[in-house]
């Protein structure tokens, strides 16, 4: 009887553990998963200010501006339909260039600027997020904003 009792407790503990883990995982996913958005989707209101997000687009021609500190850049990400200004402090990947694709991890500010923590360039052989593969190759580049 006692052994049965104990197994019951063990099973209950395990069940609670599994349920707890499920809740933990689900809530962490809801808070921390970053949506992949294009500039057009952001302009259409599909982005919450301050939430982690991944922005994909082309670097608009002539849009890269280096700030005087030498390590901060501003550029415009575009998908041909809409444009979003992006700010990034750090060393950009080697393949980051105007008229080529990029993906940025970061968040939107209330003023409509995207602040990037990390930038990945398309064709970066070390890492390419799967979303990049879907971006049209002949994407029209929007005029400088």
């Amino acid at each position: 009887m006692k052994a049965k009792h104990q197994r019951l407790i063990l099973a209950a503990v395990a069940l609670c553990g599994v349920a707890g883990a499920g809740v933990l995982g689900a809530s962490a996913l809801r808070d921390e998963a970053a949506y992949f958005r294009t500039p057009a989707e952001i302009k259409a209101g599909q982005a919450v200010v301050g939430e982690p997000m991944r922005l994909g687009g082309m670097v608009a021609a002539g849009s890269i501006q280096r700030q005087s500190d030498g390590v901060t850049i501003r550029f415009v990400a575009t998908d041909g339909k809409a444009s979003i200004p992006v700010q990034f402090t750090g060393i950009v990947p080697d393949l980051f260039a105007e008229n080529s694709g990029m993906v940025a991890d970061g968040r939107m500010l209330a003023d409509g600027t995207f602040v990037a923590d990390r930038i990945l360039a398309k064709h970066d052989e070390r890492y390419m997020p799967p979303q990049m593969g879907d971006m049209p190759k002949n994407m029209k580049v929007a005029p400088k904003v």
């Binding site: 998963a33 750090g90 060393i91 052989e125 070390r126 890492y127 390419m128």
Partner: protein, 656 residues
């Protein structure tokens, strides 16, 4: 000739696998001993032939035989020899042949050396291993033949990605593969034991060295891969929770759970069904990992080909093996006799909690890895990054470490919770000292790193407790192994926590002659000079780092450019410079040139400097864990047992 011979060897090996499987099934059904006698030699021959075929493939790469499609696509006659050899497995077909070679050689080793199991269980195990091989043989021979000839041989090959030309990377994949595939033996043992219903200590003892062995390779592969990513990518991180990293971590977690539960089964004959289940899960996770990486579901440097047909083939194979094993488990689980009983407050009890936590972490990492794929199928693009994993895995891992403090100090079967506290004062004191030290002098430290370092202090001291008041010369090897591995966990944990709590970062654009302060170092940027490497050109920066005590060190971070071969675009990489000090590492990356602020004087260069306290403890810890597991395996290996028994017998004879 070599390629044709290689292909012929593969077909013969596949036929032998077929023979092992059929003979095994007939024997289990009818008890025909003549057929059973064939299984051992057939398994050995299959392993030898597959390994020979793999050797021939390497030979083709060494000879740069461009008439073979695989060589032409992945090699180049001017490549250094090491990378010619590594090219043999640095592609889809070659890596699948390596996979098969390890499957075959593992089966051969079991056939040659395993003497503890009942004969019928062994035959069933070898038949299961042959069944695994057979599926992958079909995959290789029908959809990924590595020995395919080209109708017309090109003048030279298409080379290999220059980024992959790194000695560390040449050995990283085979190490992980040995770990991935070595665990297949545990899977086969589990299937074999389920078929013959021989699930008990003998089965667990036979399985244990294989679990430990493959887990050692996984540990080494993950540790080395982490260090490679750290110095090669130039991002300064040592773990990115990249899906490809995750699929190596998931089998590692399963292996860690399995090697603990298998010792419960071996020593106490308990947790039998669970151990069998975990063995099935561990290899299933290896296959899922391979599938995710190889099918092109994820796009990264690790996935060689995006080919839906191959992906489907792998998916079907996986479904058959995992589904088959789980079905067998469902039918037989009821007949697995209940194991020996134990109280919750006991060694077994703590190991059950260990297993629960490890499998929970496994499930959450798997969820995070698969979630973007599932979401994508439903039309939503999502990425799951470090914040998710740190949030779910961090706290659970800390609880797991606390269980690790108590577990080894509890006795089997039943123990007194109050007595446990009497064994812990030194450990608790150490933890309290770390905690107070950090709160008083550490400045602002995040909660998780603070807890991490405190727990590391407790674990470090408690892990040594099993040696307390013991004759160290007589302490068995597995005990040493456990102590060293657990101590390694404390070392790695301390490194991770200290690095994230006290990291110092500076990002500047510096003109030649400028100095930058990072933590206690004064770093002077003296300028850049162009250099030429064997197959690249580079801009090389010179930094002189000076410590407060006046010692100075020179660092040379480089920005390298590899010329594009055959019209491909040139590749640029940042080569970080590292200065290892007892207290941590100084990490320097050279970025792009930028015009000076006033536009008149010389160019500035972007410099990124990190001071990473105790960061190398992370890999030291990984190495200690692997060493501990190796000692444990040595202590459990059958050879050693035989040797000991022989020595004891001789000693007795001398007395007689």
């Amino acid at each position: 000739m070599i390629a044709e011979l290689g292909l012929a060897l593969l077909w013969i090996a596949a036929a032998l696998a077929c023979l092992s499987l059929v003979a095994g099934i007939v024997y289990i059904r009818t008890g025909n001993n003549d057929l059973a006698a064939l299984v051992r030699p057939a398994s050995v021959a299959q392993g030898v032939l597959t390994a020979a075929a793999f050797g021939l493939l390497i030979m083709l790469f060494v000879r740069s035989d461009m008439s073979v499609e695989l060589v032409a696509r992945n090699s180049h006659s001017l490549k250094p020899m090491l990378f010619k050899v590594a090219g043999a497995w640095g592609n889809h077909e070659g890596s699948m042949l390596l996979w098969l070679t390890i499957l075959g050689v593992s089966g051969a080793l079991v056939a040659l050396f395993e003497r503890r199991l009942r004969n019928d269980t062994l035959v069933a195990t070898l038949a299961a291993q042959a069944a695994l091989s057979l599926g992958f043989f079909a995959f290789l021979l029908f959809s990924s033949n590595p020995f395919n000839r080209l109708p017309v041989a090109p003048p030279d090959g298409q080379g290999l990605n220059p980024l992959l030309q790194d000695p560390g990377l040449a050995f990283h994949p085979p190490t992980l593969y040995v770990g991935y595939v070595g665990i297949s033996v545990a899977f086969s043992f589990a299937v074999g034991a389920l078929i013959t219903r021989e699930i008990g200590p003998a089965f667990a003892r036979a399985m244990r060295p294989w679990v430990l062995g493959s887990w050692i390779f996984l540990t080494l592969g993950i540790t080395a891969g982490s260090y490679w990513a750290y110095y090669e990518l130039g991002w300064g991180g040592w773990w990115f929770w990249d899906p490809v990293e995750n699929v190596s971590l998931i089998p590692w977690l399963a292996g860690a759970a399995l090697l603990h539960s298998v010792s419960v089964t071996a020593t106490r004959n308990a947790l039998r069904a669970w151990t069998v289940m975990l063995a099935v899960i561990a290899f299933s996770m290896s296959m899922v990992g391979t599938f995710i990486v190889r099918s092109g579901l994820l796009t990264s440097v690790h996935s060689f080909a995006v080919d839906p047909e191959r992906g489907t083939f792998l998916l079907v194979l996986m479904a058959v093996y995992i589904g088959g094993a789980l079905t067998l488990f469902a039918f037989r689980a009821g007949s697995v006799a209940e194991g020996k009983k134990f109280a919750l407050m006991s060694r077994e009890g703590s190991l059950v909690i260990n297993n629960l936590l490890l499998t929970t972490i496994l499930a959450l990492v798997l969820l995070g890895t698969l979630y973007p794929i599932i979401a994508e199928a439903m039309g939503e693009k999502i990425s799951v990054g470090p914040p998710y994993y740190n949030k779910v895995a961090g706290p659970l891992a800390l609880i797991l470490c606390l269980v690790m403090v108590a577990g080894p100090l509890l006795s089997w079967r039943k123990d007194d919770g109050k007595k446990l506290w009497t064994r812990l004062p030194a450990a608790i004191l150490a933890g309290a000292a770390v905690l107070f030290g950090l709160v008083l002098f550490g400045g602002k430290v995040g909660v998780l790193p603070l807890l991490g370092m405190t727990v590391a202090g407790i674990v470090a001291v408690a892990s040594l407790a099993p040696l307390w008041k013991r004759n160290l010369r007589r302490t068995p090897l597995p005990t040493w192994g456990m102590v060293i591995a657990h101590f390694g966990v404390a070392v790695a944990l301390a490194g991770m926590a200290a690095e994230s709590a006290f990291i110092k970062e500076r990002l500047v654009a510096a003109a030649p002659g400028e100095t930058v302060k990072v933590d206690d170092f004064t770093v002077k940027f003296t300028g850049v000079s162009p250099i030429a490497g064997p197959n690249y050109t580079a801009i090389r920066g010179t930094l002189i780092a000076t410590t407060p005590s006046g010692a100075s060190f020179t660092l040379h971070p480089e920005a390298r450019t590899f010329p594009g071969l055959m019209g491909t675009a040139p590749t640029e990489t940042n080569e970080a410079a590292l200065l290892t000090r007892p207290g941590g590492q100084l990490y320097a990356v050279l970025g792009q040139p930028v015009p000076s602020a006033d536009g008149s004087s010389a160019d500035r260069y972007q410099l990124r400097l990190w001071w990473k306290p105790l960061v190398w403890w992370i890999w030291l810890g990984g190495a200690l864990i692997a060493i501990g597991a190796a000692l444990s395996m040595l202590g459990r290996a059958q050879l050693l047992e035989i040797w000991r028994a022989r020595r004891a017998r001789k000693a007795q004879e001398r007395f007689a």
